[in-house]
């Protein structure tokens, strides 16, 4: 897969050329216009190289006469920058390209809540918008390349090994799981709070998640092994951790489980005897304050089991949370239909980079979910909470939120001191 990437490594990409061009355009932007044709929205079978080449070819006459400059981007979008007086010709060409794809939903469904086929800009009036757009495109392409390359590279694999340890293998997993059965894990249990945050960034604790710290587990039991290196082996490990967590939760003297709590459980575990025993040992009223977190991987490995487990849990009074959703996952899954009470969206700077389209789609999703709570997790800076608030998310979790709680604690402490001083 990296073949083409390697070949292009030293060549400037169209995205970078475009960025460079737009920078230079600033001085003579008065008589220029820009059209952005969103061919990335075409169905894959309409998005083949030859299709895009044919579409771009329509601009050849204008380009060869130096009336305009064309950029064909990696995502198949076309950006054409042209002299104002050639607007009629350009409009005709765009119309022609639209005809080329007249059977594609991009064209047929245009208008009904769908992005348009082409966006027109005036270089002078809209210069900042254009610059922002082009910068985003260049950044996205750079990121895409570095991620693809990182996966391929033996160098990257070596680096990961040096930083995170030897990748886990079945033998190590077998030894680890045997050790876990005997080990006292109560000192590895961590608690992180899920808070609502108001406009002044003051947190209110809603519930807390209990989890076994994988990082500490690694350090105490398996130094030098990267337990998360293989997704499937790690999933298997989590089933063992589930059972340990359940037994700790049953013996309440080993860890404190005050307040509303959530914890992760595999669906297979919920349907096992261990969970039934756990369930038998807690009072009905306690169930109402427990939130069971399920992983999205687990859903589609056996959908029937998920549906059954969810009914069972909700019937008993537990609430069900779907954990670990990326932007792609949250857009794909019908959370309403799945009947979860809550879900967790994993914070990633990409959410902001995605621009208006992502922002709009997320706001709509959060609005539609209505009573089902969306938690933004792994918030490690203020940007996460700011972005979340802007799309209507109310609950947050992560390092940044822990800092907010600590800060709030200090503030309250100071306030109390101040009052005491005043009284004296």
């Amino acid at each position: 897969m990296a073949l083409a990437v390697e070949n292009q490594r030293n060549l400037p990409s169209q995205e970078n050329l475009l960025l460079d061009y737009i920078h230079r355009l600033e001085s003579h932007k008065q008589d220029r216009k820009v059209v952005h044709i969103h061919l990335s929205g075409l169905r894959p079978f309409n998005r083949r190289d030859q299709h895009i080449r044919t579409a771009a070819g329509n601009f050849d006459p204008l380009v060869s006469e130096l009336h305009g400059q064309i950029f064909t981007l990696k995502n198949s979008d076309i950006i054409f920058v042209f002299k104002k007086e050639f607007l009629p010709e350009t409009e005709t060409i765009v119309q022609k390209i639209r005809f080329l794809f007249s059977d594609d939903p991009l064209v047929t469904d245009e208008g009904e809540n769908r992005p348009s086929f082409a966006t027109w800009y005036d270089a002078d009036a809209d210069f900042d918008t254009i610059l922002g757009l082009v910068q985003n495109l260049a950044q996205a392409e750079q990121k895409r390349q570095s991620v693809v390359r990182a996966r391929m590279d033996a160098r990257a694999a070596l680096k990961a090994k040096q930083e995170q340890g030897e990748p886990m293998n079945p033998d190590v997993l077998a030894r680890l799981e045997a050790a876990l059965v005997r080990a006292d894990l109560s000192n590895l249990v961590r608690r992180q709070f899920i808070c609502s945050v108001d406009s002044k960034m003051i947190p209110t604790q809603e519930f807390s998640e209990l989890f076994i710290s994988i990082k500490d587990l690694r350090e105490t039991i398996l130094p030098g092994v990267n337990v998360t290196a293989n997704r499937w082996l790690f999933q298997h490990l989590t089933e063992t951790l589930d059972r340990r967590m359940l037994s700790m939760l049953t013996k309440t003297d080993s860890i404190s489980i005050s307040g509303e709590i959530s914890f992760n459980v595999n669906i297979a575990t919920i349907l096992s005897k261990e969970f039934q025993t756990f369930d038998d040992n807690i009072s009905a009223s306690r169930r109402g304050s427990m939130i069971i977190e399920l992983q999205k991987e687990d859903l589609f490995i056996n959908l029937a089991s998920y549906l059954f487990a969810r009914e069972f849990l909700q019937e008993k009074g537990y609430r069900v949370l779907l954990d670990g959703l990326s932007l792609e996952a949250i857009q794909m899954i019908n959370l309403d239909r799945l009947g979860v009470d809550m879900c967790k969206l994993v914070w990633h700077p990409d959410l902001v980079d995605g621009g208006d389209a992502v922002h709009e789609s997320l706001s709509r999703l959060v609005r539609q979910l209505d009573t089902r709570t969306v938690v933004m997790c792994r918030c490690d800076n203020r940007e996460a909470v700011d972005f979340g608030r802007s799309v209507g998310i109310t609950h947050y979790q992560g390092r940044y939120v822990e800092n907010l709680i600590a800060e709030d604690g200090r503030r309250r402490e100071l306030l109390r001191l101040k009052r005491r001083i005043e009284r004296n």
Binding site: M1, A2, L3, A4, R43, P44, F45, R47, R48, D49, R144, V147, V148, R151, M152, A154, N169, P170, D171, L173, A174, E177, N230, R231, W232, L233, Q235, H236, E239, L271, S272, K273, Q276, K296, E297, L299, F300, I301, N302, L303, A304, S305, L307, F308, E311, F312, E315, S326, E328, A329, Q331, M332, I333, N334, R337, L338
Partner: protein, 416 residues
């Protein structure tokens, strides 16, 4: 009655102790003084196959616990998975409450749906045992179930022998050795093919591609006949990563004719992003448009981002991308169009046909319309009925045992 495993012990224990014979005994005793007695028959045997898993039934049985603990009530869990609740002087509303709880567990199953007209309830039937008529009806039903159970017990004995033959489950402790064997075993002769066929209205067919795959069953026979590969889904996935490498290795050494007949292979996303795939890509060269790469929906969900990269880089190089592992039920829970794949493979099951529910069918119809009917492949097609069902929905691409037979016929120049 609510003991763990009561459903399974009832079949293996001697027949005189079966739940069915206990139920008959009880009815006989009630007959002399039936005042206040009634029975509720819960027809779990009518659930869809994927809802009839033993742990589902066990959990359903447990929903009756509160009723059994404090009242004159007995629950019989029968061999065919049906439950019978025999009660004396208990308020119908109290029974309703537990039955509704059990029903809720299966709310995704057509069996549990309540007809709006209120006439039919396929989930439960009530019998007032103090009425002679009801008693007679229920007694004869119970007797019938008892006979059925006797036959089932024999079948169960055979099934348990088969279960044992499945062997030891896959575990981290045996995984590494298996993996080593898998990497070094002879494998080229285990590669099988299955045809995906475009069926035209005139009865003509055209090969869309031939899927190349290594049969896990055959591998198991060769390297680990005593191990149950399918007992643990995560460890099974781990093995498929090695299998991918072997399959790509064999295909990379194969001389591809120019141009060759379209093929498809099923790979993990991690494999698509690996060096083994680069090597394969070099062999395929200009012919990438003749290769379809299938990826599992579980894999897509586990890491949608990596899937996105894999899909884009494949499509940019001319490969076509297929999402495998879908069924009509899963399509109700997520929108596959956002995955921007070239094909979606949906598994047929006979339940689809028996279902007859207009809602589900129109839901499937909607999905097919939104992904484009040329993108949908109906897989596991084993009967002509399945093809007809698909054609009626506008699907024209099919794969499965029945299609392999069909492809042979077409291959020999005959019309359907």
């Amino acid at each position: 009655m609510a003991e763990w495993g009561s459903t399974s012990t009832s079949t293996t224990a001697g027949f005189s102790n079966s739940e069915e014979s206990l139920l008959l005994d009880r009815l006989k005793r009630i007959e002399s003084n039936p005042a206040g007695y009634f029975a509720v028959h819960i027809h779990l045997s009518g659930l869809r196959a994927n809802n009839k898993q033993p742990h589902f039934i066990q959990i359903a049985v447990r929903t009756f616990d509160p009723l059994l603990e404090s009242n004159d009530a007995t629950l019989f869990s029968l061999t065919n998975l049906d439950l019978v609740l025999v009660c004396r002087n208990i308020a119908v509303d109290d029974v309703d409450q537990v039955v509704d709880r059990a029903r809720a567990l299966f709310s995704e199953d057509p069996l549990a749906e309540i007809d709006d007209s209120g006439f039919e309830d396929n989930f439960i039937t009530w019998y007032d045992l103090s009425s002679t008529e009801d008693f007679a009806t229920f007694f004869s039903i119970s007797a019938g179930l008892s006979l059925e159970a006797e036959r089932a017990a024999e079948e169960a004995a055979r099934a348990s022998a088969r279960q044992q033959a499945k062997g030891e489950p896959l575990a981290p402790s045996n995984l590494s050795e298996l993996n080593k064997k898998l990497m070094s075993m002879r494998i080229a002769d285990l590669i099988q093919q299955q045809t995906c066929l475009l069926v035209r209205s005139g009865g003509d067919g055209e090969v869309v591609f031939r899927e190349h795959f290594i049969s896990m069953g055959k591998i198991r026979e060769r390297i680990a006949p005593d191990t149950d590969f399918f007992a643990n889904p995560w460890l099974f996935q781990y093995l498929t990563e090695s299998l991918d490498r072997r399959l790509l290795g064999v295909l990379s050494e194969r001389e591809f004719e120019d141009p060759f007949e379209p093929i498809s292979i099923n790979l993990n996303i991690s494999t698509v992003l690996s060096r083994d795939f680069q090597r394969f890509h070099r062999v395929v060269g200009e012919n990438s448009e003749r290769v379809v790469i299938e990826m599992q929906v579980i894999d897509v969900f586990a890491d949608p981002k990596s899937f996105g990269y894999a899909r884009d880089s494949l499509q940019e190089r001319g490969y076509r991308v297929l999402i495998d592992g879908l069924d009509p039920q899963s399509l109700q829970f997520f929108d596959p169009t956002i995955l921007r794949s070239d094909f979606l493979k949906i598994s047929w099951s006979s339940a689809l046909q028996d279902d007859g529910s207009d809602d589900r069918e129109s839901e499937i119809r909607n999905v097919i319309a939104s992904v484009g009917k040329n993108s949908v492949i109906l897989a596991r097609v084993d009967t002509e009925k399945a093809v007809k069902w698909g054609l009626a929905l506008g699907i024209s691409r099919f794969q499965g045992f029945f299609i392999d037979r069909l492809a042979e016929v077409i291959g020999s120049g005959k019309r359907l």
